[in-house]
């Protein structure tokens, strides 16, 4: 029976329980920080292969690491991490030498067997028996999408060979993909369920998962045996604070050390307080408008070109982004290195040419629907209003139709013509996103909004052609189709991400949603 005392205890428990771990950590002089985020994880798991989101990207690198590290704060180039070396053997094989002496959070030393399990059926691709049988289907699909036809051969305690079923020019770069994290084989085998493992993945990162309360808080504690040195923070608490006003208020009141996902229009407000600043900027993500070319008004490529030509990107960046982002040269990034087409032009703003194209296409003012989510992307709704005015000036009658979620936006039918989209890249190569968006099995062909056999062939060449010259030609061909011949999108700008923090903290934001709290990126 519920007594008065037990009822009071039940009510008081949620208030008192979170304070208890503080006692145990009181001896450590390193700071403990709180990071206010809009969302910790959409899937309520900490396996990035299942989570697959920007919000999950923010913290997963604190506790798990891919084989090949990326210089997220600097050049965005790959660099040694858990793998000391990775050498291409031939067009289908890459051999990897692991860093010796790396420890998992459960105390085990990382060996090639752990890596093989992390890139095998046990964690990524699933199977019919044993622990592989419990890998969720969506994780298996994600694994196959990022590592198509991959198998791993153990060559020694610290040596492995990665083999793909067909030539893969980006295989070595894929080893740095965020879903290719390395976990302890023993932790996979000993977890009572896949969810139990995914709620507390055992990785090699500088912090280990101490507690995960879904939709509420993720608490990480320093892992002092980290191979990269002693972590600078005793504890990191990612706290879910859905309202941006509450995140900023908590930052200014000193309750939070970091407030994430600060909208550009709040930057000046935060920095008006001398003790605070906003860090961040460009991230490896493009924002664009995509076309459903099966819509009657968009069948003619001239209309789609006119839609792109009538976008005043400078006004959007200046007015809505405080000038803190820029217009890219097509769907590519400079950090692609040899695969970056530096001579590819930025999209133009030319209303006169847009009007001429509209006239030439014989457009009579029919409605072009634009399905819009309410600020799913930063400044999405005001951006849409600017776009519609620009299109109106070009003679295009675009009407905004508000939608609540993605499935409503993507629903096939006569109401689908224009919509927003963004694409993030995770490795320094166009295969990071081009096949997934524009390839034969990509997201846009899958919804039947846009298909182009020549583009599919160009994507195929990007994925399998080993000669860089021919790959560059394939990339040029693909961008020509996507932006000129049979436009699939109108590029808006590169995305940016902003984090408010106390000015006294010397910490640099990554060019990603990822937050780096490793040794070397923290001082007070």
């Amino acid at each position: 029976m519920l007594s008065r005392r037990s009822a009071l205890a039940a009510l008081a428990a949620p208030l008192a329980a979170p304070a208890l771990p503080r006692l145990a950590l009181a001896q450590d002089a390193r700071p403990a920080i709180t990071v206010a985020v809009q969302k910790i994880a959409n899937s309520n798991t900490l396996d990035i292969a299942r989570e697959n989101s920007n919000v999950g990207t923010r913290h997963f690198a604190c506790y798990t690491e891919p084989l090949v590290d990326t210089d997220w704060i600097g050049t965005l180039k790959p660099r040694p991490g858990l793998a000391l070396r990775w050498d291409r053997v031939d067009e289908r094989r890459v051999e990897v030498e692991l860093r010796p002496g790396v420890r998992f959070h459960n105390g085990d030393e990382m060996t090639a067997e752990d890596v093989a399990a992390s890139f095998g059926p046990e964690r990524l691709f699933g199977g019919e028996a044993g622990i592989a049988a419990r890998v969720p289907r969506e994780v298996r699909a994600q694994g196959r999408a990022v590592f198509p036809g991959l198998s791993v051969e153990v060559l020694g305690r610290h040596r492995l060979r990665f083999v793909t079923g067909r030539p893969d020019p980006a295989l070595d770069k894929r080893l740095g993909h965020r879903i290719g994290i390395v976990t302890s084989r023993r932790s996979l085998e000993e977890a009572e369920s896949w969810l139990a493992w995914a709620r507390r993945p055992v990785g090699t990162g500088p912090y280990r998962v101490a507690e995960f309360r879904p939709d509420n808080a993720l608490i990480l504690e320093a892992f002092d045996e980290y191979w990269g040195g002693r972590p600078p923070l005793r504890r990191i608490r990612f706290l879910e604070v859905p309202e941006v006003a509450a995140r900023i208020a908590g930052l200014l009141s000193g309750e939070y050390d970091f407030a994430c996902d600060v909208p550009p229009d709040q930057i000046a407000e935060i920095e008006r307080n001398r003790g605070f600043e906003v860090q961040g900027g460009l991230i490896a993500n493009h924002r664009f408008i995509t076309f459903d070319k099966t819509h009657p008004q968009l069948e003619d490529p001239r209309i789609r070109r006119a839609l792109s030509l009538s976008i005043d990107r400078a006004a959007i960046i200046e007015g809505l982004w405080a000038g803190r982002t820029e217009v890219p040269r097509g769907m590519q990034f400079p950090f692609y290195g040899g695969m970056y087409l530096e001579d590819w032009p930025q999209p133009r703003f030319d209303l006169a040419e847009a009007r001429a194209l509209v006239r030439a296409a014989g457009y009579k003012g029919e409605t072009i629907p634009y399905r819009l989510l309410n600020n799913y992307y930063t400044a999405q709704t005001p951006t849409a209003q600017v776009l519609v005015e620009g299109w109106r000036a070009a003679g295009l009658n675009v009407q905004i139709q508000m939608r609540e979620n993605w499935s409503q936006v993507l629903e096939a039918g006569p109401g689908r013509a224009l919509r927003d989209w963004s694409s993030t890249v995770f490795i320094a190569d166009p295969v990071s996103n081009m096949p997934g968006v524009w390839g034969r099995n990509g997201s846009h062909p899958a919804t039947n909004e846009w298909r182009n056999e020549d583009a599919f062939a160009a994507v195929e060449a990007l994925e399998t052609e080993m000669d860089q010259g021919r790959r560059r030609a394939a990339m040029r061909r693909l961008l020509t189709i996507l932006e000129e011949e049979d436009p699939a999108y109108a590029m808006l700008h590169q995305a940016a991400n902003f984090t408010g923090k106390r000015r006294a903290i010397r910490w640099r934001a990554a060019q990603s949603f990822l937050m780096d709290f490793r040794p070397g990126n923290w001082d007070v």
Partner: protein, 307 residues
Amino acid sequence: MLRFFGFRLLRAAITIVMVVSFAFVVLRLSGDPAQIIMGADAPPEAIAAFRRAWGLEEPLWLQYFHYFGAILSGDLGRSMRDGRDAIALVVERIPATLALTVPALLIKLGLGIPAGITAALHRNSFIDRAVMMLAVAGFTVPSFVLGLLLVLVFAVQLGWLPSGGQESWRHAILPIVTMGVGGAAVLARFTRSAMLEVLGQPYIRTASAKGVPWRAVVWGHALPNAAIPTVTIIGFMVGSLIAGAVVVESVFSWPGVGRLLVVAVANRDLAVVQCILLLVAATMVTANLVVDLLYGALDPRLRQRTA
């Protein structure tokens, strides 16, 4: 009495079936959980795999019958976000929500009823106008505005209280006050108008004319008769103890049932939404039942009519 209970239980069961069916249809027709939960960037193959895993490829009517059949056998389903039992997910959030809503209810009662009585007893005076002005302000300011205002003053400017989270009892103060103030304003307005109506009745004049002390008139005659509309409102408030903190929990980052409901609806996580709706319906029905019984206790005429 048995018939009285039987009728209300039947009515409650029909209500719950309708709520569950309506929620199923609305949630399933207005969004694909696979697309929403897997995220906009998920590969089409992963989204298709998710649909297969959760039976979302079946016709809607078949999904409905499977779902309803499972409910009748006591299985309320699993969350599509992480595969956990929906009922366990909801139940573990209840203490956090009650930690806000119960003290807030006490504030509503402790502030609202005395304020309403005081205003009625000093009708058209400065006190009445002051109380009603505050009540209208408390009633009309949305809770998310009031919440942010309190954060701005007590957390950012004064630094006395935390702005959000669930770390200690101090974190609960602002959300409790936010909910309590709005509810107290509602109760004050209802109590005042009920009291004014009763104070104008002939039996009050008769009691006063007979020389009964005013205090005894108010406590013995006016208050019990004015209690019925107030008890109705309190019944609604008690009924919303479980899911009545949706906005406040979001503003103050309080991980209760309200936050869970917002996230579950946004993700079309049907089993979790249905669990919360069932719980809310059960709380409402129970509160209404208690209110019905209280009516009888407060007014013997109603008891006789029921009999």
